[in-house]
């Protein structure tokens, strides 16, 4: 997982407020369903401006937001089919031509939402994110699990990639059936390693005095700038919805 390491003012904001502000913005975008060029440009402009102020990589935010496009485009293709009377090429084409705007909206809305989430991800470290989620009263079991997961996901990924490399280099010309069997064995052995690792990690943590609660880094206090961020996000989301009404 990528880690945000920059230390701009945006990184020092209280993470729970940032998560909340991003969520409010996403809800605002979804509920307003932006369909005019002005609204879309204002949202995208705001996100990129905030990214610039936060010294986050605009390129990474834009590239990261593109991840949603394939699924959004695929789902949007189903939309005009609701309006097809008879299943003939002419009526299908007519339905697509008549409803290209809602289709476009179905692609733009998730894209803008992902841009907001990318901005959050690139201005918040993982530890801050977990702290924020805990402050937002996410079940403790889930926060604890996410903390461990964050610690071990890279280890698992590296092990899997190493095993995959070994498999490809040592058995490049195997039949599909044997390859499937090998991948099954690979995943199975990874699972057993994960099981054993889980026990070892817990034993190690107990020896260090773990009592079921994870220590967190110094908790950032909610300051005026945090309140301003929350208020700004709420006002912007409310304005978007009002413009729609």
């Amino acid at each position: 997982m990528s880690t945000s390491t920059s230390k701009s003012q945006a990184h020092k904001l209280a993470p729970q407020v940032k998560i909340l502000a991003a969520t409010v913005l996403v809800f605002g975008i979804v509920l307003s369903a932006p369909h005019t060029a002005f609204t879309v440009a204002s949202i995208a402009g705001l996100v990129l401006l905030l990214g610039f102020i936060a010294q986050a990589s605009i390129r990474k935010i834009l590239l990261g937001s593109l991840v949603v496009l394939p699924i959004a485009v695929m789902i949007s293709l189903f939309y005009p089919l609701r309006f097809v009377g008879e299943w003939q090429w002419a009526s299908i084409t007519a339905a697509y031509l008549a409803h290209w705007q809602p289709m476009l909206q179905l692609v733009i809305t998730p894209w803008l939402c992902v841009m907001v989430m990318m901005l959050l991800a690139h201005t918040t470290t993982h530890a801050q994110m977990l702290f924020g989620l805990e402050r937002l009263r996410l079940p403790r079991v889930l926060v604890m699990m996410l903390s461990f997961m964050y610690r071990y996901v890279d280890v698992m990924k590296n092990q899997l990639q190493a095993a995959h490399r070994a498999l490809v280099s040592r058995a490049p010309t195997l039949s599909r059936r044997k390859q499937v069997l090998l991948y099954g064995n690979l995943a199975g052995s990874m699972l057993i390693r994960a099981y054993d690792r889980g026990e070892l990690i817990h034993a190690a943590m107990l020896s260090r005095g773990f009592s079921g609660v994870l220590p967190v880094a110094q908790a950032p206090r909610i300051e005026v700038k945090d309140i301003l961020l929350a208020a700004g996000a709420t006002l912007f989301a409310a304005a978007l919805i009002m413009m729609q009404l």
């Binding site: 997982m1 990528s2 998560i19 991003a22 996403v26 809800f27 975008i29 979804v30 509920l31 369903a33 990261g64 991840v67 949603v68 959004a72 789902i75 189903f78 939309y79 609701r82 097809v84 179905l106 809305t109 998730p110 939402c113 992902v114 989430m117 990318m118 991800a121 993982h126 994110m129 989620l133 079940p139 079991v141 889930l142 604890m144 699990m145 996410l146 461990f148 997961m149 071990y152 996901v153 698992m156 990924k157 899997l160 991948y183 099954g184 064995n185 995943a187 199975g188 052995s189 990874m190 699972l191 057993i192 994960a194 099981y195 889980g198 026990e199 990690i201 817990h202 943590m205 079921g212």
Partner: protein, 324 residues
């Protein structure tokens, strides 16, 4: 299969949020009650592994690929409730850090992948294990459970998109179910392969059954209740138009129309309503609930009968071995 933001309308994602809140709340309670910290560490490591395994893409047709989801595997290995928590953690990380799956639609993704995925995998596997504890039965249960988990989740996505007026039902349902049936085969092969490997190399991992499996009657009742509520909600959506077979029957003018309309035997709940109930809404909702419960009880009774028969055979075999 992750639904992005903007694809579901307010009523749909609102309803799903209510369901997901209740489900995750209960799952958290279940895990705290039944699992100690060591098991939670194990859940986390499993979450990390599932996250990594989701990178394993396998080729499908036309240059596209699918990837392992792992819901059924989690349900089988950890139990349905802990599995749902682990999958929810994975979905949360994907939504917050990678924009994979939306925020407003997070609940939909939790319902589809965490609950439908883990519960389908776990329940199908349990039914097969109750029928027979043989190696083949366990592999078959794990594979079928994984396949159905993917297909049911895909069907749920199509239903949610249709309920939100985002997609035409037939096209979305057919495309989602068809495509995910192919992906489901890959999921079934990987899940079956992993379970086979575990049964050969470290069978005690699967024998260390979570408490939920021992007293699974409660989970069956919960599933029945959820299915009945869903049936009650969805019964309003039952189309008054003829289905494909009825339409073909009328269109081709096959046989006697009266028989097609009336049926050979009088149906207890014709047209998905209950005879004698004046209130139409009540009649439709009641028919939905009763139909679901009857179907569920029938399947449950069948599985139980097969399981007892199998146990009987197992006892006879054991006695024969003892005698020899």
């Amino acid at each position: 299969m992750h639904i992005p933001d903007g694809m579901l309308d307010t009523k749909t994602f609102g309803t799903l949020w209510a369901g997901a809140f209740a489900g995750i709340g209960y799952a958290g309670y279940w895990v705290r009650k039944n699992f100690d910290n060591s098991k939670i560490v194990l859940m986390a490591v499993m979450a990390a592994l599932i996250f990594a395994l989701q990178m394993l893409n396998f080729p499908i047709a036309g240059g596209t690929s699918g990837h392992f989801t792992g819901g059924a595997l989690l349900g089988i290995m950890l139990g349905a409730w802990p599995g749902a928590i682990v999958m929810t953690g994975v979905l949360l990380i994907q939504a917050l850090f990678f924009g994979d799956g939306g925020i407003t639609t997070l609940a939909a993704n939790i319902v589809n992948l965490s609950f439908i995925g883990c519960f389908t995998g776990a329940l199908v596997y349990q039914v097969f294990v109750r029928i027979s504890k043989s190696f083949v039965s366990k592999i078959a249960g794990a594979s079928l459970g994984a396949f159905l988990a993917v297909v049911f989740s895909a069907a749920a996505v199509a239903i949610q998109l249709w309920a939100s007026n985002t997609a035409e039902f037939t096209a979305a349902f057919t495309a989602m179910v068809f495509w995910h049936s192919i992906i489901g085969v890959g999921e079934a092969v990987i899940t079956g392969g992993i379970i086979a490997y575990l049964l050969k190399v470290r069978p005690q991992i699967l024998e260390d059954e979570p408490k939920e499996r021992k007293g699974s009657m409660k989970s069956v009742v919960v599933v029945f209740a959820v299915a009945a509520v869903l049936a009650a909600s969805l019964s309003f959506l039952a189309s008054e138009n003829p289905d494909g077979l009825e339409y073909t029957y009328h269109d081709m003018e096959i046989g006697t129309v009266e028989i097609a309309e009336e049926g050979l035997f009088p149906a207890p709940m014709p047209g998905y309503t209950i005879k004698g109930v004046g209130n139409e809404t009540l009649a439709i909702v009641g028919a939905g609930i009763i139909g679901t419960l009857i179907t569920g009880l029938f399947v449950w009774a069948l599985a139980l009968a097969l399981s007892r028969r199998n146990k009987g055979q197992g006892t006879k075999e054991t006695n024969a071995e003892d005698a020899s």
